[in-house]
Structures are given as C-alpha cells and as structure tokens.
C-alpha cells in the first residue's frame, strides 16, 4: 500500500499515514522506535534496503528525509508506505526542496511514533556539527558513518570533538565481530597484555576504533599497520601468562571473508568472518537505546580528546543558515 503526495504539507502526510495504517489493519501496530534517515537522493535506495533489513528485527516507523537544493522553491513531496515493499514497517519518504530542508523537523516531529525512542541516521558524509541539524537534536541515538567521509580519520576526530552520549558510528559497529573474537580469546587465559596491533587498509576508521578500544581496555599502546585491505585484515594481542610464558592471540582475514584464528599454543582455526551488510550493522545499532560508553572510551583513546563520556547527553539546536556563508563570501 502506498500513497504518493506531491507538493504537500506535513499535516497531509500525518493524515495519509493514519489512513494507510487503518487500511493495513493490525499489520504494524507494535512500533519499537522511529528511525529518521538523512540521505542524499542517490543513496535513497541503499538506505531503504538497509532499513528494511533492520526493520525486520526492530519494527519501526521509518522516516526518510531527502534534502534537495536549498536554492529551489520551497516544496514537500512525500510517499507513505505501510507494510509494502519496505517490510513490516511504516515508511514515509520525504523530499524537501528549498529552505524547507533547513526546517525538516517541522515535518518530522508530528510523524514520530508516540513516546518511542528516536534514532537519526546520516547515511552519507557525517555532519560537521550534529547540533546544527535539528533532526539530530531531537534524537535519542545518533548514528553516523565515518567510513563515508572523504577523510575518515579527520571525521573521527570531528566525532570526538562533537561527541555527546548517545552518538555512535557504524565504523564502531563493524568492529563487533573482531572484538567478540578477541574478548573470548582472553576469556580462555589469565594473561597480562603487553602490546597489540591492528592491520587494515589506509585510513580505515574501524581499525582506528579497534585500536582505541584495545588501548583503553588493555592499557597498552596499540598501533595500526597499513595493509592492502579490504577493511580490517588482522588483529593481534601479545601477552604473557602469569607464569611468564608468552600467550599470543592473532586473527587474520586477508580476503574479507574467512579468518584464521590462532591463540596461545592451540592449533590454527579457520572461521567465517564476513564483512557485514549495511542492514545488519543498522540492526545491531537499533538493539540498544542506551548510550554506548565503551564506544566513547575507544573514540577518546584513539583521538586523544578528553572527557567526552561526561558531556551532557542533550544538545541544543544551533541555527546555522547557509545564506550567511554566501553573504559572507559576497561581502
């Protein structure tokens, strides 16, 4: 079921959504959250696919906001979907033209599911400062993806400077399987770590966060070795047992699919460690609605930005008008 609305208003979208829900019956009544996706026109398809996968695990009201050129005339187009091609979810895709894009929250606010948590996900270049986007200010969790930035390492630094509890990044989500393997390797032995290395392609933000994590948890200096990729290709921890004998953990995944695990004096073992799809990453993020303190520590450890975990969780909207920049340039 879908309704397409051209040159419409926020109120009409609310009514269309209500009408769609009635037609669909009890199809989608148990919403766990609202997911706001900020995305460029060319990535709408990608975001929809990922959100559909994630929605299979966490039924949500999906609100996709596509901001078109600020210079165009103000206009709002919308497509309302309930239980259609986007899976067990209610979705509204909104295209905002002109200066309406700067006030996207005026359309989104009445569409949020009542009293359910709000997650905002920027599928594209992460915002410079989240407080300048009202869609980020109203969210409980904010998901960015530094891997999509032109300079991922610089983007991580920005994320640390701009951090507030409740922020998270898909570059961090990508490290989970690696972290799980490393953590369970240290479950098996009582050891004192002395060093750690991560191998990854140049400027990989996940490798940086994995290093930051090892750094903050183990209290050792962890470094990144540059490799050809794809993504993270290896992780090692050097340690000594209580009796002084060395205990090493190494995981290597040169092909992005199959990993070889070696720990202590056990035999080598092969196990699948595939790079995960965007939808799986998003689904993992939507599992928890509380701030991820471990991420904050890893981010702080890598970037060297201090005291980020104790910042206030709420942001205040900072108004930044693109017209100022133009005015500044012309004067």
């Amino acid at each position: 079921m879908a309704t397409t609305l051209w040159d419409t208003t926020g109120t009409d979208i609310v009514n269309a959504l209500l009408a769609e829900r009635r037609t669909a019956g009890a199809l989608a009544s148990g919403l766990a959250l609202s997911l706001v996706v900020v995305v460029d026109e060319k990535r709408v398809q990608e975001a929809e696919t990922a959100a559909t996968v994630a929605a299979a695990a966490h039924p949500c009201r999906l609100l996709i906001v596509v901001r078109r050129s600020v210079d165009a005339d103000n206009r709002l187009d919308a497509e309302v979907q309930v239980g259609g091609r986007l899976g067990p979810t209610e979705a509204v895709v909104m295209r905002m033209y002109g200066r309406l894009g700067l006030h996207a929250e005026s359309v989104v606010l009445p569409l949020l599911a009542p009293d359910a948590p709000v997650v905002t996900w920027w599928h594209g270049e992460p915002p410079e400062q989240i407080a300048t986007d009202a869609l980020g200010v109203l969210a409980n969790r904010r998901i960015t993806d530094c891997a999509r930035a032109a300079d991922p390492r610089a983007a991580l630094k920005r994320r640390a400077e701009d951090f507030a509890p409740g922020d998270t990044d898909l570059a961090w989500t990508r490290t989970t399987p690696w972290r799980a393997l490393l953590a369970s390797a240290l479950d098996a032995a009582d050891v004192r770590p002395s060093g750690a290395t991560v191998g990854a392609e140049a400027a990989n933000p996940s490798a940086a966060l994995l290093c930051g994590w090892l750094n903050s948890r183990l209290g050792v200096k962890a470094g990144v070795d540059e490799t050809a990729g794809p993504g993270i290709t290896s992780a090692t921890i050097d340690a000594t047992r209580a009796d002084g004998t060395p205990y090493g953990v190494s995981i290597s995944r040169p092909d992005g699919r199959l990993a070889t695990l070696c720990r202590g004096d056990e035999d080598e073992r092969q196990l699948p460690l595939p790079r995960r799809e965007l939808g799986d990453l998003l689904a993992e993020e939507l599992r928890r609605m509380d701030p991820d303190g471990v991420y904050a520590e890893a981010l702080a450890a890598f970037t060297g930005v201090k005291g980020i975990a104790t910042r206030p969780a709420a942001r205040t909207h900072v108004w930044r008008d693109p017209a100022w920049a133009e005015a500044g340039a012309s004067s």
Binding site: A26, A28, S29, G30, L31, A32, A56, A57, H58, P59, P88, T173, T176, P177, R179, A180, L181, L182, A183, S184, A185, L186, D187, A188, D190, P193, L214, R217, L218, G219, R257, L258, L261, R263, E266, D267, R269, Q270, L271, P272, P274, A283, E284, R287, R288, D292, G293, V294
Partner: protein, 505 residues
C-alpha cells in the same frame, strides 16, 4: 583475574562458551535431527560457538564421519532457523566426529573416552564436554554406568567441566524419578546436570518473568484479591504419531502435566526471586510447587479423557485405540484437566485450572490470568451483558505474545460495554526471530547457566502432585471426546460447577 576486554556495559559482545565437545547419544534420532543439529548450526551461524567446538555423534550405526556429515547437513539445511550458509557449515563440518557403538559395548565407550582425550590436543577442548542423552529412558542407566566406568563424567579426571543433558521424561512416578535422579547425580554432580524442559527456553516464558517483575502494572494485582482464576492450557492438534510405545505407558498427565504445565504454573505463581540467578529462581519455583494442593473431590476436579475418532482440520482421524500399536482396550488418557490450588497467602482460594490434550482443534499453549469482575458496575445491567472478566493472556506458542482483554464502550449513542483485546505480538515489536528454545538451552548448557533448567527437587515436587492423580485414575475408564473437540464434556462441567468456563484459546 577478569578479562580486561570484557565490560558489563559492552553488551554488543556475545557470551561465547569455552572450547568444548558436545557429545550426542542417539544422534540419528528425530530429536537430534530436527532440533539439536539445527540448533548447533544456528548457534554457529550467529557466531556463538567457541573456536574449538566439536560435535560428536554416538549411535548404533555402522557409519563413518562421512555418513554422519551428510545426515547432519540435511538436518541443518532442512530445519535450521537461520539462513543456510556454506562457509558456516564447512566450519561445523570440520569439527564433526562420529563413533559407532551400542550402549552396552564397553569397547565403544572406551573409544569415546579416548577420543575425548585426543580432542584435548587436536581441538583444545581442555576436557570440557557436554553429554546429551537423546535416548529412550530405559537406556539411561546403561549409558550412565558406562560413563561412570570410563570416568568420562568425572570433572576432576581431566580438568575442565563435564555436564550432562537429560530429556524428559524424568521417570514415570516419584520413586522412579528419585532413582533416576540419584543415578544421574552420583555419576555427575548436581550442578552439572541439565534437565531440559524446552518450554522454559521459549522467549515468552522468560518474558513472563519480565512482565511480572520488571513492571509496576501487573504485580500489585497478581494475587487472590484481584485474580479470579488461572487457566493454563497446552493443546496439540496432532495425535501420538509413532510414539505409541512410550505414550501408551505414560499418558497426558505424565507426558505434559508433570513437566510443562507445572513449570508454567510455578512461573505464574512464584514470588519475586531476590535476584535473577539460577539458585534464587529455583528456590521460588520450588516453594510454589510445594504449595500446590490437589482437589479433595478428584472425581469432579480431575478429569481425564481419551480421543475417539472424529474430524480435525478437514481430515478424518482415527480413535486413540485404533492408532498403530495401541492396545484396543487401552485406558491411557490423551487429555487431562485438573483443578489445583496454590496454598500461599498470595493465592489462597484461587483455582488453577490446567488442561492438556491431543487431537484438540488447534495447537496452542497459553497462560490466562482471569481477573475478578468489578465489584460494582455503575451501568444498567443491560449495558454490560457482553462484558466478561478482564484477562491477561500470555501466549506461549504459536504466535508468541501477550493479550489483555478488557471492556470498552461500543461506539454509538447507547452505552454498551463489550470486551476488546489489546494485543502485543512478540514478533512485532521485536521480530528478531526469537531463537529456538533448543538453541538457547544448548548455549546455556555450554555456558553452564542453569537458570532455565528444572532441578531434581522440582521434578520431585511435580511427581508429588501427579502420583495421587495417577493413583486415583488407575483402573478407571477415561472419558471419551471426539477428535477435534475441546476435550470431554466432563471437563466443561468441572468449570461450570465453579461458575466458570474454559477460555477458547
């Protein structure tokens, strides 16, 4: 020392068991093929198996590991919950072992013991092994004796842990259950024995505890002041299948009432545990089970039935006595309904109606808490004719979720109040397709978490409820009910006598 990479806040990281072997006796059986092997695959697919994991099959087949692998592969492909992925399977297939042998064959068990020692080197399992007894109850003593003889079950012998998983039935009466418990507990230690009641692995059953103890809304009314009665139903539409040999000796009360229904009752009736660890929950469940009282008038309040021929789901089905391998004069019950009491301050005077049966119209398991009617209704009597009791229904399977039934005004100019349902569908707010019960339970066994496993005291207490019923029923003829009906009319009379009716699930 604690692992520096672990942090209680870091809940993205899954708990993964130590390297270990899972030894399945009777690995060619139905349960292993339909539930155990697929569950192992699903765990592997979710990355929850340890790097050194071995699935070791033991059965009386003249097989090599090749045949076992193709059986396991088919099982995983057909019955696994998650998508079948070749590279995940390859990894599990690499760690399959098979040992042929019968249970009285000393050589086979010596070979098994030797194999477990060999696996310590090749797979680094460090002596950790869980033994899954997926075998008929008469074979238990033989296998357990073999394990004692080869010291396979001895934790101290090789280091690491040795655990055993036992499927129901846990005996057929109090005496035999005690014998079995003593045997298992002497071969293994009590903390290493895991009795599987797969109902307890279901998400909704665990959700019952969350519902009761994580909310302020329900617990204040969860007592005899507000609750009129509780109905616990487990209905199956199937007959006895090929299990005539076992079923005809057991019957519905031993097969279902003794374990599943009494466990559900215990979880519904128990007090709040002081914490959520296995021991605290066990203490509270045991208190509830020990407080169960049987009806004085068993003739009216303990009804058993046996299905006659009839029509079910558009098909003609035979009577129980005409099923294959069932004696023509069998007096085994396929339906049991009983009124129990829970003698505590919380539940004094609240009847717990339990029923279970085969060849009932649909497969459903649910716990319905029926509340008292409002003490005063400020409406005309005619306005509320259609208003029933408020109900809170925990749907265990299928369609897992919770339903709340309450009165609501019918839209229109007249004041009319009618019952409506508010539904929480488990799969709707959290569709992360809930793990299969066996998946969860096997993981818990490998992690050594006993929270969801009944202990031998609970088995004891349940038999103390069932034995007097069986004694009362012995020698009597079960009431007949037509296949495809909700049980014998005597069961309806039982509730009618108390001024109540069974809920149609």
């Amino acid at each position: 020392m604690t692992n520096p990479l672990r942090d209680p806040r870091d809940r993205r990281l899954p708990r993964v068991p130590d390297p270990c072997a899972l030894v399945v006796f009777g690995v060619t059986g139905d349960l292993a093929r339909k539930k155990l092997i697929p569950a192992v695959y699903d765990l592997g697919n979710r990355g929850l198996l340890p790097p050194g994991f071995v699935l070791l099959g033991f059965a009386r087949r003249d097989w090599g590991v090749g045949e076992f692998e193709s059986l396991a592969r088919d099982a995983a492909q057909q019955h696994s919950r998650t998508e079948f992925r070749e590279d995940v399977w390859r990894r599990i297939a690499d760690s399959l072992c098979f040992l042929p042998g019968s249970f009285d064959d000393n050589d086979a068990f010596d070979a098994l013991a030797a194999k477990l020692i060999e696996l310590e080197d090749t797979h680094g399992i460090k002596g950790n092994a869980a033994f899954y007894l997926s075998i008929p109850p008469p074979a238990f003593p033989v296998v357990l004796d073999q394990m004692a003889r080869t010291k396979m079950a001895d934790n101290a012998e090789r280091g690491g842990w040795r655990r055993v998983v036992v499927e129901k039935p846990f005996g057929h009466d109090l005496e035999s259950a005690r014998e079995l418990n003593t045997l298992v507990d002497t071969v293994f230690t009590a903390k290493d024995v895991f009795r599987i009641d797969h109902y307890l692995g279901k998400e909704t059953v665990q959700n019952l505890l969350a519902l009761r103890f994580a909310n302020t809304l329900f617990e204040p009314i969860w007592n005899s002041h507000f609750v009129d009665s509780v109905q616990i139903t487990m209905a199956e539409d199937v007959g006895i299948g090929g299990r005539a040999g076992f079923y005809d000796n057991a019957g519905a009360a031993r097969d279902v009432l003794q374990n599943h229904l009494l466990q559900l009752l215990a979880l519904t009736a128990m007090e709040e545990p002081v914490s959520f660890d296995a021991e605290s929950i066990r203490i509270e469940k045991l208190k509830a089970l020990n407080a169960i009282s049987l009806p004085e008038d068993k003739k009216s309040y303990a009804i058993r039935g046996q299905y006659d021929q009839g029509w079910l789901a558009g098909q003609r089905v035979p009577a129980y006595r005409d099923e294959k391998d069932v004696p023509k004069d069998s007096r085994t019950e396929t339906y049991a309904a009983v009124r129990l009491g829970v003698e505590t301050r919380r539940w004094a005077g609240v009847p717990f109606y339990l029923r279970t049966g085969k060849r009932l119209p649909r497969r459903v398991t649910e716990i319905a808490v029926v509340f008292k009617r409002a003490p005063h209704l400020p409406f005309d009597a005619t306005d509320t004719v259609e208003l029933g009791h408020n109900q809170l229904v925990v749907r265990v399977q299928p369609d897992e979720g919770v339903t709340l039934r309450f009165g609501s005004k019918v839209p229109g100019s007249a004041m009319e109040v009618r019952d409506v349902s508010m539904d929480f569908l488990y799969g709707e707010s959290f569709t992360e397709s809930s793990p299969e019960a066996y998946e969860r339970l096997i993981l818990d066994v490998l992690l050594g978490d006993q929270t969801l496993f009944p202990r031998n005291e609970e088995v004891d207490a349940s038999w103390q409820v069932i034995d007097p019923l069986e004694a009362f029923w012995a020698g009597s003829e079960p009431h007949k009910y037509r296949a495809g009906e909700w049980g014998p009319t005597e069961a309806d009379d039982m509730l009618a006598r108390d001024g109540r009716v069974w809920r149609r699930p």
